[in-house]
């Protein structure tokens, strides 16, 4: 089997080889760019007042089940099997699920901002921007409806300003998750009609637009399933801003080349 593969050949001049199964092994300069993007996003999240957390790369099946992940994205989950472990686990498809697990069955002391970065895994159909494994930085907002909406708006604007500062040609527009057909079509249409998700997209290495970040209002979907309440006892609202770091790297390399991209990222500020 050809593990390092045909897609690598189209991207080799960027030293950014992606295997047929969507596994990336970036070169030295590209690794430096990815690390710089990770640092800058972390600084932006901390400057915005988010509390940073670290989580495992694997997640209990029960948490994904509670989040209706298997119903919404039945083909994306990657199982982890170990004969020495008793539980059923998957590789995390997003870092925010861990935040809901952390807060499960609790009352928030007030409006809450969490941030975390992790390796995430989505076994989506392979193309030049869908990596099976990638790095995601998320900022998760929990609290009142007003707080969550304001944070989502603020992150949308902050990210658009950052993209402009980096000289990235990018578009911000309403979007939907890639739900599968069937009963999840209703979820997708509801998300679309209510404009619960926005994406920032930019041309990637092969020219087509790729999503770099998404800004999501989850209303009470997760908080009701994980019993996260406001002090008055009613379910809190939640939302998140999520950044696919390698995709920022791809878009920046496509538009500026890796060295110029690195300079721009290092010179950008934390957009406090």
């Amino acid at each position: 089997m050809n593990i390092l593969n045909s897609r690598a050949s189209t991207l080799r001049h960027h030293d950014f080889p992606i295997s047929d199964d969507g596994l990336l092994s970036p070169g030295v300069a590209e690794t430096r760019l990815i690390r710089a993007l990770q640092s800058r996003l972390r600084e932006m999240a901390l400057a915005a007042g988010a509390e940073e957390r670290m989580f495992p790369t694997v997640i209990a099946a029960e948490i994904l089940d509670r989040s209706e992940y298997f119903q919404s994205f039945p083909q994306s989950a990657s199982a982890v099997n170990s004969p020495n472990k008793t539980g059923s686990y998957f590789l995390s498809p997003a870092v925010c699920y861990h935040c809901y697990q952390l807060l499960m069955n609790s009352a928030l002391a007030g409006d809450t901002l969490l941030t975390c970065q992790g390796r995430c895994f989505r076994a989506e159909s392979a193309n030049d921007s869908h990596l099976w494994e990638f790095t995601m930085r998320e900022i998760v907002f929990l609290g009142s409806d007003g707080f969550v909406r304001a944070q989502c708006d603020a992150w949308r604007q902050r990210t658009a300003r950052w993209a402009a500062q980096l000289g990235l040609t990018a578009k911000l527009a309403p979007a939907t998750d890639p739900f599968f057909v069937g009963e999840t079509r209703g979820k997708k249409l509801l998300q679309q009609i209510r404009e619960l998700k926005y994406e920032l997209t930019a041309p990637g290495l092969v020219g087509t637009d790729i999503p770099l970040a998404s800004f999501n209002l989850h209303e009470r979907f997760f908080t009701s399933r994980f019993e996260v309440t406001l002090t008055a006892g009613e379910p809190a609202y939640s939302g998140c801003a999520a950044f696919g770091i390698e995709r920022w790297c791809m878009a920046l390399m496509a538009q500026h080349g890796v060295n110029e991209a690195l300079r721009r990222v290092e010179e950008s500020d934390d957009l406090r």
Binding site: G186, L189, L190, Q192, I193
Partner: protein, 90 residues
């Protein structure tokens, strides 16, 4: 709840009336709260992922046309009046 909820003085457009009846008596049959022609339909989570599919199926039967997903946006679905205007009966 919109201004027409407790009994409008002006007669309703027949298309609005049919849609209003479907939403209040069928879609929201289990709900205490009913909507008016100008109520923001997608506020307060009253329309869930199954109800939106039933609403679209109803509109497709009335109009005799399939509604493509890209037309299912807030500008066309804000209220019952907006929906009736954008998806006329055949």
């Amino acid at each position: 709840m919109g201004s027409n909820a407790t009994g409008a003085s002006a007669p309703l457009n027949p298309a609005v009336e049919i849609l209003l009846k479907f939403v209040n008596e069928d879609l929201l049959a289990d709900s205490q709260e009913k909507v008016a022609p100008d109520t923001l339909l997608f506020d307060k989570g009253r329309i869930d992922s199954l109800k939106i599919l039933r609403l679209i199926a109803f509109l497709e039967v009335r109009s005799g046309q399939k509604i493509p997903d890209e037309l299912i946006v807030m500008d066309r679905f804000r209220t019952i009046e907006t929906i009736a205007k954008n998806f006329p009966d055949r």
